[in-house]
Amino acid sequence: MNVGQPASAPKLPWRLISGNHACALGAVAAGCRFFAGYPITPSSEIAERLSRLLPLVDGVFVQMEDEIASIAAVIGASMGGVKALTATSGPGFSLKQENIGYAAGAEIPCVIVNVMRGGPSTGMPTRPAQGEIMQSRWGSHGDYPIIVLAPASVREIHDENMRAFDLAEPLRTPVVILYDQDIAQRTETVELGDANGVARAQRKWASGPPAAYQPYATGEDGIPAMSRPGAGYRVHTTGLNHAENGFPTQSPQAVERNLGRLLTKFERHRDLIDSWQTLGCDDAEVLIVAIGISARAALRALEICRARSLRAGLFRPITLWPFPENALREAASQANAVLVPEMNAGQLSLEVGRILGGKRVEAIHRFNGEPITPAEIAQRVETLAREMNQ
Amino acid sequence: MSGPNPSNCSAGGVQLLPVAAAAKAREPINVLIVGVGGQGVIMVSKALASLAQSKGFEVKQSEVHGMAKRGGTVFSHVRFGPQVWSPTIPKGEADILVALEWAEGLRWLPFLKPDSGIFICDTKRIVPPFACLDRHPGALLRYSRETPAEVKAHVVEGYAIDATRIAEELGNVRAANVVLIGALSMSLDFSAEDWEQALSEFVPKKTIAVNLEAFRLGRRWVERARTAPPDAQPAETPAPAYRPYKVRLEITPEWCKSCDICVKLCPERCLRLNAERTVELTDAAKCTGCRLCEWLCPDFAIRVHLDAAEAPGVVAAAEGIRP
């Protein structure tokens, strides 16, 4: 399903595992050696799996006193130079927001899994939803960059988790992985690649004489080299706006220079970050844009539409934020209308509407805990096609 | 040390020969034990008295406590023999003087028999607080300045033992008095076994082993001192040299925030805030280098240096003149 995955991948023994299980395996394969979390449905299996897996690879699992402590411990571990992960769900994700902002501002790599469930508030803990599309981008206060990945299958959860570390570490950023309850707790047949021996992307470590080291000075790539405690650099890390030397500053010039660099630091690395899937877009009259379980329903809907000779295509962002805007525009170039089925009251459709300004964008909004079905999507495609042709 | 003499008194079948005893058998043996409150003088004298009594001697053991417990001089007279009258030892009549502290040993020297007295003294120095009234670092202490070598020249037989260090190395500094008992035992003809028996009754049960070891080390020390050639004698700790210092304050005025803590808390009242409202030293002679200003400065603006004074200062100290 992943466009980045060669079709001729060697067939390995298949396994039937759940999305959360795959998440844990992906983290360990990516080199994650620290997990801190707090139990919350429907993400707890990730913690349970990692509590068994991490000790086997000399990693650390710790269950903290709350979600705030969990993200804080994860950032703390990452400050120590260790790849670290936390996993949670809606209410816990809200609690983590302040510290996600800290990680973004101080540029501390870490990965946060958010298994989406019904909301707002405690909502429906065991039912799927897709309500954190916007929160995952804008949840913490102030302006900051963040990467959000939205895998749609058990296999993809595994692979995207690995990719999350491969983005977080070299780009020094928190990466959020969003997937819904329906995939988290569903088992699927997957074949997992052997990650052993595959070189993973590494954090950019400081080198050279400590006296000359500026913790937030960067080269062309806009990514500052990080110092590992104990390596002789002895720098200061703060959530306050800081200058290149890492110390707090309120100088407008210094803040503009550094925050400006931070806010645009992904631009040079979009090739690494962006990821999406397209299906049948070349001649699609109606383009479906969806993520997660809704995208899975759309896939099935495409079959149904094809059987009814409706020309429908699918654009599925795998990197949700920063949104692959150009790819969407290209995929939608032939379509007369766009349909966004999503399990919320209207989030992805807002972004799609913004990007495809002027194009007709319809949405199916669902927030009752029942996934949108392929039949419903096919029905709306048919209606839309009919309306467009009239 | 003279050998056993059959004309001397005997008790319980044991030949007793107090080494320092005068020729007349009916004269008691006088052992004066001195030290500072809390050192265990009374324990030493009780052990000796008990041992002598168990051998059938009449014993009188006289001590003074009360105010002496408060760091003052403590002494205990132990007299034993076939007949003992006075509970105290007259001046110049002590056969053995056991001192648990150096200056106390010197104080009681006139009580030692000039022609035969044995001087056994710990080189431990307990300096009374008022001897340090001059609070300047390096100020000369008002403490006895006689060295072990000087003292030995004035006594017939003398042992200056660093018993406290020996006990410290054993792991129980309180056993220093038992090291001295060991040394004392080498000058009295009670058997080592009798001593150990008596000691075991007087020290806390848990410390019997360490005290017996201390006793043996004390004996060994004297044995070596008697037999070893002069250059192989057990080392004596020299009295500490006086080290005069000059105090210098390093002030970083840019860091001072005029909070006034150092000025107000200086015990010598020798700091002030100057016209720029930064701290400065007004009277270098008053400053003792106590560091209170350095420690209490929230802004790290003061650093106290204690510089070594020049060589003349050292000479002056050695001569007893305050630098």
Partner: protein, 163 residues
Amino acid sequence: MRGSRLEIRIGGTGGQGLILCAKMLADALCATGKRVAQSQTYEPTSRGGFCNSDLVVSDDEVDFPLATALDCLVLLDRLAVKPSWPLLKPGALVIADTRLCPELPEGELRVHPLPLSRTAIELGSERVANMVALGALAALAAVCTRDAIERAVRAETPKAFSS
């Protein structure tokens, strides 16, 4: 084309071992080269209440992992009838326990009422009704070889029950 899609539901009530049964079937299918997506009812239904496990089986990767039109339904309790009946494809295979699910609505279906739980009781434990159902399903639906199912059952069964 993804024409090979096959949907199976094992429905009943909590505590009947439905998930285990579905997992064994999924393992067996997996071993014969099929792709499977299996749902886990994740609600406090371990004792009483409707409980089901759906399998979506495909030759290729499963696109939509939820049941849309059941090819096959195993009913171990009457509680599962109402929520499952609308999902049945015309002509779908229905296996129902005669004791616990005696009455079924009308429909153009291949219905097989079987004494699943009674057989299990005769075997010595009502708790193996799920295995009886699995056997019946394997025989009637012919989704995979008997050998593959037996291997999956052996791999998943606790040693104490394997004899």
